[in-house]
Symmetry: none
Subunit: 249 residues, 2 copies
């Protein structure tokens, strides 16, 4: 493996997780810990990351910005958000799950057109409070501490009573064979109900999450109407998805 590749991998890991351990890198890259150490030292000198005792962190790790400082991933999400925002039309009733990509979408919401948004996500709801033109209805229930997301019968029940124009699903992993998958079973239940309530289902996903599978299935690809990634719709990476009735955006 080339040194360049190694260093790119290290940088990617740092950007993705904000911190890495030298031990993990050494194991993942199949090189001695000394080599990794030297790489990190070098990248530190080039100000590409911050070397710390036992590992490395991204710059901005110790700052308290809501966005995760991962420029690569972040910009992908913004591209996706812009595309998704173009689907919004005045008067629509929207349903939004949680996830950072959806949060990015909210940030680029139009300030002119009137919308109604249902959501079980604390973060989404809070962000939407900034928009006087958006009526926000929170789907209440027991909250998951990590995801800040309401789950359980109350949410599913509320969902069964509404019918929305469009659903933006922001998290989850997508695979041609296994469809949309999650690791939390409770969240899957809520998302299933969401899909039931929506006329159109839109998936927002960075390409990293394509061709990945998690434990529980939310739905198969036939249930999805529009798939938005940061890639151009003609990208070959998306080919396996073309055999389904999905609009690529």
């Amino acid at each position: 493996m080339l040194k360049e590749e190694r260093q790119k991998y290290i940088l990617d890991q740092v950007h993705l997780h904000h911190r890495v351990l030298l031990n993990d890198l050494s194991e993942a890259l199949n090189v001695s810990i000394d080599t990794v150490r030297r790489d990190v030292k070098e990248l530190h000198k080039e100000k590409k990351l911050k070397k710390v005792h036992g590992g490395a962190t991204s710059f901005g790790f110790m700052t308290f910005s809501k966005n995760d400082g991962n420029v690569y991933l972040q910009s992908k999400k913004i591209i996706i958000a812009e595309k998704a925002a173009s689907l919004l039309k005045s008067g629509q009733i929207i349903l939004m799950s949680g996830g950072t990509t959806n949060l990015e979408l909210v940030k680029v919401f139009p300030r002119k057109i009137e919308l109604t948004v249902f959501t079980p996500s604390l973060h989404i709801a809070l962000e939407l409070m900034e928009f006087p033109n958006v009526e926000v209805i929170f789907l209440g229930g027991k909250l998951l501490h990590e995801a800040k997301f309401a789950i359980g019968g109350t949410v599913v029940n509320s969902l069964s009573q509404i019918r929305v124009d469009m659903l933006f699903l922001g998290t989850g992993y997508l695979d041609p064979k296994h469809g949309l998958t999650e690791f939390d079973w409770e969240v899957v239940q809520v998302k299933k109900a969401m899909i039931e309530s929506a006329k159109k289902t839109v998936i927002l996903s960075v390409s990293d999450k394509l061709h990945s599978v998690q434990r529980y299935q939310t739905c198969d690809l036939n249930a999805i109407d529009i798939l938005i990634t940061e890639l151009s719709p003609i990208d070959a990476f998306l080919d396996p998805f073309r055999e389904f009735p999905i609009a690529l955006l």
Copy 2:
């Protein structure tokens, strides 16, 4: 775990709750108290937080002295919060309205005892996400943009289906003659339902809001069980409230 991660966690906690105890940090981070102490010492040197006996606080945190009559509003709210927190017992089911005083209460929530909290306030819910020992159920509904508070039939309806041990009402104006009053009619409806659902109603109010009246009445003073202010319970300012069956704290 990296030292940097630990320190970031400490800083996050300090910024979120204004203050932290070394013991809590030590337990949460699974390191000895000495390590936490050293971390805090270091962060203190870097002026990232303020080290105090037994813990740390953020810099913006107003300290107050007992003999100094000029007490800041924030400090008043913290005094109230401490008193209110002393009422909490393990296993209780709590109902909390919104308001900055209630938010202050959440920040000093005990980290040991198990609680269940119902709330229609985004801020309260979000803050409670930090407490693994607290189960949080959000009372969903249409959200008020300013107050970040859920109102409407859904909330009232949900409230009619629950019975809680204690209600902490954090906002509103209190007057011996006119009782508890608000300026938002929708909020009044929710608070009325809250009082109905609670075995005990506790009002958290800075003294500034006593002897003040707003447009709509939530309840009269007979509905209130405990009134907590930053004042000593024997303060003459509270005398007019003594003719009601209210415990002053």
